[in-house]
C-alpha cells in the first residue's frame, strides 16, 4: 500500500518536473534535458521515502509489541520470555488470518490488540513516508529552472547507487567473517578452542541422558582436517594433476585445432555438471567397484563409503580446472624459449618436459593450490560418498569424513540453535573459510609473481 502510494507520488513528481522543464524550454535554453528534470524529481521523491520506510519496517514490529504488551491482556501474559514470545508470534499469525487459533489460549485474546496496533503503526509509517516523499518532490521541483543542472543531480544519485552496489560485495565478506566469528566464539565458550584444534576424537552426538556412553560429545577437529586433506588434497590431486596437466599439454601442443575446438568444450562440461550428480554417481557406481577392488586386494576393512571413491570422482571433476590453469601458464611462457629449445634439435616432447614445464611450474603450482582449495570446500560428493565415520586413517578404502560433510550433518538435524552441536558447525566453517582464503591468497601471489617474471 505505502509502496504503491510512494511510487505514484514519485511518478507524479516526475511528470511535473518533466512538463515544467518542457515549458521552460519553450522560452529559454535549458542546461539539462527535460527528462533529467523529471528523473531528478522522481529520485528525490522516491529514494529518501523508501529508505525511511525500510528503516521504519525494522523498528515497527518492536513498537507493535510494546503497544500490545501495554494493554491489559498483554500485561497478563507470563513474564517468562520464551513463552511470551511464542504466544505473541501465534497471536500475530491469528491477527493476519494465517491460522484460526493457537495452542495458547491467550493468543486469541491478543489478536485484536495486535491488529489495531499494526494498523495504527502501519498508518503512521505510511503517513510519514508520504510526507517525506512530498517534501522531496517539492524540494526537487522548486529547484527546477533553466540553468539548473538536473543532469548532475541525477548522476550524483546514480553514483551513490553504483557505490552501494559495489559495497555489497565487501559487506558480504564482512558478514561471512562476522557471523562465523560470532557463532564460533559462542562455541568456544562451551568447548575449549585448544581441544577443538588439537583433539583427535570427533563424536558430536551429545546424548540425552548423562549416564549414556559418549555423552560428553567430543569436538576434536583433527580427524576431520585429515579426512578433508586426504580426500581433497591427496587422492583428488593424484587423479587430477597428471590427467589435467597432460590434457592441457596435449590440447595446446599436439591436438589439431579442429580437434581442440571440440575437445576443450567437452572437457569443460565436466566442470559444469552439478556436484550432486557426481555425488550420486560416486555413491551408486564408483563406490561398489572400489569396495570390491579393495576386497579383492585383501583389504578386509574396505568400506562401501570409501575415501578413494569420493576422492577420485572429485579429482575427475577438478580436471578441467587444472587443465585450464596449466593451459594459461604454458601459454605465458615466451615463444623465444620454445624456439630456442627446438632450434637446438630437441624434440617437441623434450622441449615440453625440459623447457616449458619447468618454466611454467610456478603457474601450475598456483593452479594446483587453487584446485585444492576448491576440492576442500566441495560438499556434495563427500556427503554422499565419503561417509560420516571420523577415522584417522591413511587407508584409501576406509571411510573418512570431511569438514564439509560434518557441517551438513551437524546442521540438518532437528536441533535448537544454541547447542554445542550446531555451533560447532560454525567453528568448522570458520576453519574452512580461513584455510581456503589462505590457499587462495598464496596461489594468487605465486601466479602473479610468475607473470611478472615474464612480462
Amino acid at each position: 500500500m505505502a509502496l504503491a502510494g510512494l511510487f505514484i507520488t514519485a511518478c507524479v513528481a516526475a511528470w511535473l518536473g518533466f512538463s515544467r522543464a518542457r515549458r521552460l524550454r519553450a522560452a529559454q535554453h535549458l542546461h539539462s534535458l527535460p527528462s533529467y528534470h523529471g528523473a531528478y524529481a522522481f529520485l528525490w521523491a522516491l529514494v529518501p521515502a523508501l529508505l525511511l520506510l525500510s528503516a521504519y519496517s525494522m523498528v515497527e514490529p518492536r513498537l507493535v509489541d510494546q503497544a500490545v504488551l501495554a494493554t491489559p491482556q498483554g500485561r497478563a501474559l507470563p513474564a517468562f520470555d520464551m513463552q511470551r514470545q511464542s504466544i505473541l508470534s501465534e497471536a500475530r499469525e491469528i491477527a493476519r488470518g494465517d491460522r484460526e487459533q493457537g495452542f495458547n489460549s491467550e493468543s486469541a485474546a491478543l489478536a485484536p490488540a495486535i491488529r489495531s496496533a499494526e494498523l495504527r503503526y502501519g498508518l503512521i509509517g505510511a503517513a510519514v513516508a508520504m510526507l517525506v516523499a512530498f517534501a522531496g518532490a517539492a524540494f526537487a521541483l522548486r529547484r527546477s529552472a533553466a540553468e539548473f543542472r538536473a543532469r548532475a543531480g541525477v548522476e550524483r544519485w546514480l553514483t551513490i547507487l553504483l557505490v552501494t552496489a559495489s559495497l555489497i560485495a565487501t559487506l558480504t565478506t564482512l558478514g561471512i567473517l562476522l557471523s562465523l566469528l560470532f557463532e564460533s566464539l559462542r562455541f568456544f565458550r562451551l568447548y575449549p578452542a585448544t581441544d577443538f584444534l588439537f583433539g583427535i576424537e570427533w563424536s558430536p552426538q551429545t546424548a540425552i541422558r548423562a549416564d549414556q556412553a559418549g555423552s560428553s560429545g567430543a569436538f576434536g577437529s583433527v580427524p576431520l582436517m585429515w579426512g578433508t586433506f586426504f580426500i581433497g588434497a591427496i587422492i583428488a590431486m593424484v587423479v587430477a594433476v597428471p590427467l589435467g596437466l597432460m590434457s592441457a599439454i596435449y590440447l595446446t601442443q599436439y591436438a589439431h585445432p579442429k580437434l581442440r575446438s571440440w575437445l576443450k568444450p567437452t572437457l569443460e562440461i565436466l566442470a559444469g555438471v552439478p556436484t550432486v550428480v557426481y555425488g550420486y554417481f560416486a555413491a551408486l557406481t564408483v563406490a561398489p567397484v572400489v569396495r570390491d577392488f579393495g576386497l579383492k586386494l585383501g583389504i578386509t576393512s574396505a568400506s562401501s563409503e570409501s575415501a578413494l571413491a569420493a576422492g577420485s570422482v572429485m579429482g575427475i571433476m577438478i580436471i578441467p580446472f587444472i587443465s585450464s590453469m596449466a593451459d594459461d601458464s604454458i601459454a605465458a611462457v615466451p615463444q623465444s624459449m620454445r624456439d630456442g629449445s627446438l632450434a637446438m634439435g630437441a624434440t617437441k616432447s623434450e622441449t615440453i618436459r625440459k623447457v616449458l614445464i619447468p618454466a611454467a611450474l610456478p603457474g601450475v603450482i598456483g593452479g594446483v593450490l587453487l584446485a585444492i582449495s576448491r576440492a576442500i570446500g566441495e560438499t556434495m560428493i563427500v556427503v554422499m560418498a565419503a561417509g560420516l565415520a571420523a577415522n584417522l586413517t591413511a587407508n584409501p578404502f576406509a571411510s573418512v569424513t570431511t569438514v564439509t560433510a560434518q557441517i551438513v550433518q551437524l546442521l540438518t538435524g532437528d536441533q535448537e540453535f544454541d547447542s554445542a552441536k550446531t555451533l560447532a558447525a560454525f567453528a568448522l566453517g570458520l576453519a574452512l573459510f580461513i584455510i581456503t582464503l589462505v590457499l587462495n591468497l598464496i596461489a594468487l601471489q605465486v601466479v602473479r609473481k610468475y607473470r611478472e617474471q615474464y612480462e
Binding site: 559495489s166 555489497i168 560485495a169 565478506t173 590427467l243 552439478p274 550420486y280 560438499t379 556434495m380 546442521l411
Partner: protein, 421 residues
C-alpha cells in the same frame, strides 16, 4: 644415457649408436604424445560413462507400466455419489474417499490375491483425476489402465523379486500390461511412494529460487562492475572491494549457506525453506561471478568508443550507460547465464537453510516452503526403496537438460553477439 658418445668425439648421423639414440628419442616422443591423448581420452570417456549410466538408469523413470483393471464401483465398498461430484469441491470429495481399498478390491476380484498390492499411490492419483473428469464412470463397470506399484514396475522393466516377476508374467500372458509415458513424473511433486513421485514441485522451487537470485544478483553485479571498471578511483577502499570480490568468488559454497542460516534466518527471521532465502543466499554466491564477467566485458570495449562519446559532449555517466554498457551487455549476459546455471545446480548452501524438508506440493510463492531440483535428487538418493534409484537418475537427466539448455544459450549469445574489437 649410457650409450652416449664420449665427450668430444664427433657424432655422425650414420653412426649406429646415433641412429639408436634418435630412434629412442622419437619413440619417447610418440609415447609422450599418446599419454597426452590418453589423458584427454580418460576424461572424455568418464564423461561419456557418467552420461550413459545416468541415461540407462534414468530413462526408465519417464515411462511406466500400466495394467488393465476391470472395475465396477458398485461392487466395491466405495461410496461416492456422481451427482455431488459436479460441484466445485469434487477434488476434495474424491480425495477423501477410500479409492485405495476400492482398487485393491477390484484387482483382487480380477487377478486373485496377488492383486491386492498390485497398484500403488500412482494408481490412486490417476483414478482420482479420472473420476473428477468423468463422474459418470462410477455408475457403470469399466476397464481402466492404471500404473503398477513401484515393485512391479521394476519387475516389468528389469528384474525384481521372484513373486513380483510371477505377477508380471501373469499380466503379460493375459496381455493386460502396457508401457506408457509417465506424465506424472513431470507434473507431480515429492511423495513417499516412488510410483507417484514427480519433479514439478522441485522444478518450480528451482525456478522461483533462480528468479530471486537473478533479480538480486544481476543488477547489483552489473552496477558494481560498472563502478569498479569505469568510476572507481584507485585507492585503499576500492582495492578492498576488489580483493573481497575476488575472494568471494573462491569461497566454498557451503560457507554462503552458513551465512544465510546465521543472517537471513536467525537475525532477520525470514521464513525457513523458502525460495526467497535460497535465492538471496545464491545471489550472494553468484554476484562475484557476474562482477568478474562484467568487468572483463566492460574492459574489452575499446577506449575509442568512450573518447568519441566524450568528444561530442556526453557526460561520463552518459558514456557509460548509453554506449559502453550496451556494447558490453552480451559478454555480461554470457557470464550471468553461466553463473545462474551454477546456482541452479547448487545443493549445499540450500541444505543449510532448510530446503531439504519433505514437501508434497509445489510452492505457492517465494515465501512458501519449497525444495529445489538438486536437493530433491539428494533426498531421493538417500531413500532405500529401489524405485527411487530410477527416479533419482531421471531427475538428474532433467537437471542436466536444464544445465545444457542454459550453457547452450550462453554459448549461442557469445557466438552471435560478442564482438572482437
Amino acid at each position: 644415457m649410457s650409450s652416449a658418445a664420449p665427450l668430444g668425439a664427433a657424432s655422425r648421423w650414420t653412426d649406429e649408436a646415433m641412429q639408436r639414440r634418435v630412434r629412442r628419442r622419437y619413440r619417447s616422443e610418440r609415447t609422450f604424445r599418446l599419454v597426452g591423448l590418453a589423458a584427454v581420452g580418460v576424461s572424455v570417456l568418464f564423461l561419456a560413462f557418467l552420461l550413459v549410466t545416468m541415461a540407462s538408469k534414468g530413462l526408465g523413470g519417464f515411462v511406466r507400466y500400466e495394467a488393465a483393471l476391470p472395475i465396477d464401483f458398485a461392487k466395491t465398498d466405495l461410496f461416492l455419489d456422481p451427482a455431488t461430484l459436479r460441484g466445485p469441491d469434487a477434488d476434495q470429495l474424491v480425495a477423501s474417499a477410500d479409492l485405495e481399498t476400492a482398487i485393491s478390491q477390484a484387482a483382487t476380484a480380477a487377478y486373485g490375491p496377488s492383486g491386492a498390492t498390485m497398484f500403488g499411490d500412482g494408481a490412486v492419483t490417476d483414478l482420482t483425476r479420472k473420476i473428477v473428469d468423468d463422474p459418470d464412470m462410477l455408475t457403470r463397470p469399466s476397464s481402466l489402465w492404471l500404473p503398477l506399484s513401484s515393485d512391479l514396475d521394476i519387475a516389468a522393466k528389469s528384474d525384481g523379486a521372484a513373486s513380483d516377476e510371477k505377477v508380471v508374467a501373469m499380466l503379460r500372458s493375459r496381455s493386460a500390461l502396457k508401457m506408457s509415458i509417465n506424465t506424472q513424473f513431470l507434473t507431480a511433486s515429492d511423495s513417499t511412494d516412488p510410483s507417484s513421485v514427480g519433479v514439478w514441485g522441485a522444478l518450480k522451487g528451482s525456478f522461483l529460487t533462480i528468479l530471486v537470485t537473478m533479480f538480486l544478483a544481476f543488477p547489483i553485479g552489473v552496477l558494481a562492475a560498472v563502478y569498479l571498471e569505469e568510476f572507481a578511483p584507485r585507492n585503499r577502499w576500492t582495492d578492498a572491494i576488489e580483493v573481497s570480490i575476488n575472494n568471494l568468488a573462491a569461497v566454498p559454497s557451503i560457507i554462503f549457506g552458513l551465512l544465510g542460516l546465521a543472517v537471513f534466518l536467525n537475525v532477520m527471521n525470514l521464513p525457513r525453506s523458502a525460495p526467497l532465502v535460497g535465492g538471496m543466499t545464491l545471489a550472494l554466491m553468484t554476484m562475484p561471478v557476474i562482477v568478474i564477467a562484467g568487468r572483463n566485458a566492460i574492459k574489452s570495449v575499446p577506449p575509442s568508443i568512450r573518447d568519441a562519446a566524450l568528444g561530442v559532449g556526453a557526460s561520463k555517466m552518459q558514456v557509460t550507460f548509453h554506449h559502453v554498457l550496451p556494447l558490453a551487455l552480451p559478454g555480461i549476459l554470457t557470464g550471468t547465464i553461466i553463473g545462474m546455471a551454477r546456482a541452479l545446480g547448487e545443493t549445499a548452501p540450500l541444505l543449510m537453510i532448510g530446503m531439504r524438508a519433505f514437501i508434497a506440493a509445489p510452492p505457492g510463492g517465494i515465501t512458501a516452503p519449497a525444495t529445489v531440483l538438486p536437493v530433491q535428487i539428494f533426498l531421493w538418493s538417500d531413500e532405500v526403496d529401489r524405485g527411487f534409484v530410477e527416479k533419482t537418475s531421471a531427475a538428474i537427466i532433467v537437471l542436466l537438460l536444464f544445465m545444457l539448455l542454459m550453457n547452450g544459450l550462453a554459448i549461442y549469445l557469445r557466438n552471435r553477439f560478442e564482438r572482437r574489437w
